[in-house]
Symmetry: C2
Subunit: 547 residues, 2 copies
Amino acid sequence: MADDIFKQFKEHSVAEFFKKNRQMLGFSGKVRSMTIIVHEFMTNSLDACEEAGILPEVFVQVEELGEDHYRLTVKDNGPGIPKTHLGKALGQMLAGTKFHRYIQQRGQQGIGAAACTMFSYLTTGQPAKAISCHKGKKLTANISIDFKANKPVVQEIEEVPTEESGLTVISEYKDVRYERSNYGVYEYIRRTALANPHCSITLVEPNNEKTAFPRSVEANPPRPFEIKPHPLGIGTHDLLEFAKHNKESKRISSFLQETFARMSAGKVDELRALLPTMDLNKNPQNMTWEEAEAMVKAFGQLRWVSPAMDSLVPIGKGQVEISFRNIFNPDVLVVTERTPKVYRGGIPFMIEVGIAYGGGIAAAGKKGEVMRFANRVPLLFDSGGCAITETIKTMDWKRYDLREFEDEPVAVLVNLVSVHVPYTSAGKQAISNEEDMMDEIKFALMEASRGIQKYLSGKRRANEIATKRKVVNRYVQQLAGDLSTLSGEKKAEIEKKLLDIIEKKYGEEDEENEGGDEKKGEGPNANENSGSVKKPAEKEEEGDADE
Amino acid sequence: MADDIFKQFKEHSVAEFFKKNRQMLGFSGKVRSMTIIVHEFMTNSLDACEEAGILPEVFVQVEELGEDHYRLTVKDNGPGIPKTHLGKALGQMLAGTKFHRYIQQRGQQGIGAAACTMFSYLTTGQPAKAISCHKGKKLTANISIDFKANKPVVQEIEEVPTEESGLTVISEYKDVRYERSNYGVYEYIRRTALANPHCSITLVEPNNEKTAFPRSVEANPPRPFEIKPHPLGIGTHDLLEFAKHNKESKRISSFLQETFARMSAGKVDELRALLPTMDLNKNPQNMTWEEAEAMVKAFGQLRWVSPAMDSLVPIGKGQVEISFRNIFNPDVLVVTERTPKVYRGGIPFMIEVGIAYGGGIAAAGKKGEVMRFANRVPLLFDSGGCAITETIKTMDWKRYDLREFEDEPVAVLVNLVSVHVPYTSAGKQAISNEEDMMDEIKFALMEASRGIQKYLSGKRRANEIATKRKVVNRYVQQLAGDLSTLSGEKKAEIEKKLLDIIEKKYGEEDEENEGGDEKKGEGPNANENSGSVKKPAEKEEEGDADE
């Protein structure tokens, strides 16, 4: 009997796994599936353009072919994909240029595009049609996926010369639905445009309505640098892997400097002092687990310069302000500008937070609005399990003169920037509850909230002053008459002087009060932003637990 | 430049993917990681024992070796694993006996055990030690995992004769922590024992405290049958895959009956009538996409007997009641017994819900407690993104005379039973927001809530009656005196008679009132439970969207 069961023992490919568990890729609802597909193709297009230094221009068209049946075209002006890689890029999971690089990108897993090809094939039996214009050649091919092997199936159609460059993917889907809801493609693209002002995006909806989201900035944001891994983000196994695959260095000492960021000769000396029995002249290939473990422990005992700031490129204070004013036209708006931090010991990340209050938000009847982004990609789904939403929930908003978050005309934007975003699942819609990250989100929220609070308390104070002035003004007439009788001076002159005094007094207070809503609060850990990080104390990361 | 980037094009194994994204497996916090590891080994042990018809006996020991450094031993009395499969079972992801079978099991992905081997190796560099007693042989081997290839690395230590059977896995971990919190191993095992009264579990904690969770039922629950797929759960691609891999049947008509549940010759005739142009005598190997698509559409137009009930085995009303009384000793307790439903068209599932109110829950100061299970496995984490929690949130508890859920001394148990649980990620701690499933969870909650409501309104009525009786009693003395004066009868006798009347009247009302808290509410769709299902109307599944 027990052997019978082992006759059923089988090995499965990652494509079969995601075919059966498509909800893990985000395919779990018709409108959501439609949005996820557009999301996967658009993030690839934007990444490709920026990587190649091209100002992105993306064309998205959704055509309705029948009930819950659509054709999607996504065309970009990127560098295209060479023939040798086209199939793998679109028809093989866990293959690509992104997975292993330490660089801030939208995509990071090498699953998304192949997942769409899979979903297309599963629901319509049709391959995806790819037109890749790359280095003077225009290749047209049909691409599908062999689930059992997780390998692409490529059928070349033609290859002709071209002067253009870019990738177009045309694919069909059933079991999806186009809708202009808060979770639909339109909203996804609107938010993408918001966070990516250098992109020009055109959307043609099934009803043939064409919407242009023109760029408002005529240059790509600074290109985030690919960085070497930081010593504090490295585990024993990582270090051994690096040592094993190292080819350039014959000595551990030079290997360390080759491989890791912030590893100077001086740092190697410090390590040597901490590890007196270890021979740093030996070949890294021969490093043992014990040695690597001791080395990682020593990494943690040293002070390191924090990861390079230019590895992370946020949306930016100015742009978040413009975007917020465009959408909401709020009464007050505070955007944080914080320095990068690290999580899991040494993976750099950065949080930017914008909080807007009143004005257009109140007028539109919106309350407690949250807009989540990761590396400028809007996150529309799975807010329930996301570190951003969870952190907003744990905030004590009353400390900032706000009532319950959900009852206030307030909109919060949070953008997480990192070389590796710890998503909760392959569907990339929620961020895992990493403790360091949640702490930093909280600090950023607190910083921005203090700005809002100043505005609110300023507003309250202005109200109080206005009331006082009204009261005082009431007595001016009477007082001026009485003084005129007593002094014999003209009542009108006395009245004017009194009014001047009042005006001067309350006018000053008004001015004093004005700075309040513009001055940015200092971060609760502003003094930590010294460019030097210590390994954080070992703390329990139970933020992810529930009940 | 664009070509440079494609020089960096690489393919990755699923093991590398999960190494980098270990949070997707649930490894995202020290206490949580410890619990997840125990969870993976225990679910495998319980599945193996039950599959082999053995009453499960599981021994779990956690030993502390250093700071955040532990050794875990999990030993079961199952059938063991044959030598040929031991490495793959413990050291290769997506390999195993579970992934492709239509049967209710705890594990279903073939990732968990290998994920633990991975986590052990990543944090300590040590292989897992497996001792498999299988068919008279006791094999001891060290097992680790080659990440690049997702292949097991097996080092055999010895093979000797034995009369025992079972599997023991001893593995070491760092970056984990043992804690007796709500998210720790102890609570996980306690809840497992609750939902699996036929299991005997022993836990030895790091402080050497030994806790036995003895079995309270001396037989395994009925073995859920492995079922054939139901026609309503099949997509076009599935049908073609089945047709292509079919070897027994030379005709589509017989292939259909071989392959699918509830597919009688009569049903094939009905399909033939719906598909007059299709040749059901042709070889299934030659079925086209268009034919398969038409066939799947025809499946949806017929009425089908619902999936076999014996494919699903719930914890059971009796057992849930016993467990609830043991933990909470509540004032009132209602457990639903509902028939299986289907989701995604045809995957059978079943929801059981228990709601307990007052008594020990109030005494312990607990409020709005939720215990989630899937196939009897406790889900301790990620409640934020789980269909069960989300559904509980959307319930209008006030309709059932409860205030806010979080403010009431109420405990809710939900167990989802299915041949395929749609988890949100490979970490298997939250259930995806499948619309059919959320509807059914809601109906079950409503049904149980009505029982609670009857109790609460009964209790309120009893209070009212007690008040009335008190008021009436006050007048008895006076009235008896007055009547005695009027009638000349003895006051004591009149008083006794009046008291009898009152006693009789309010005593009866009390009895009438008693049935209320025991009578089970009928499901809102009780009339649907006819054993016959129609394909649900196409509805938008936007339950998973947010904001």
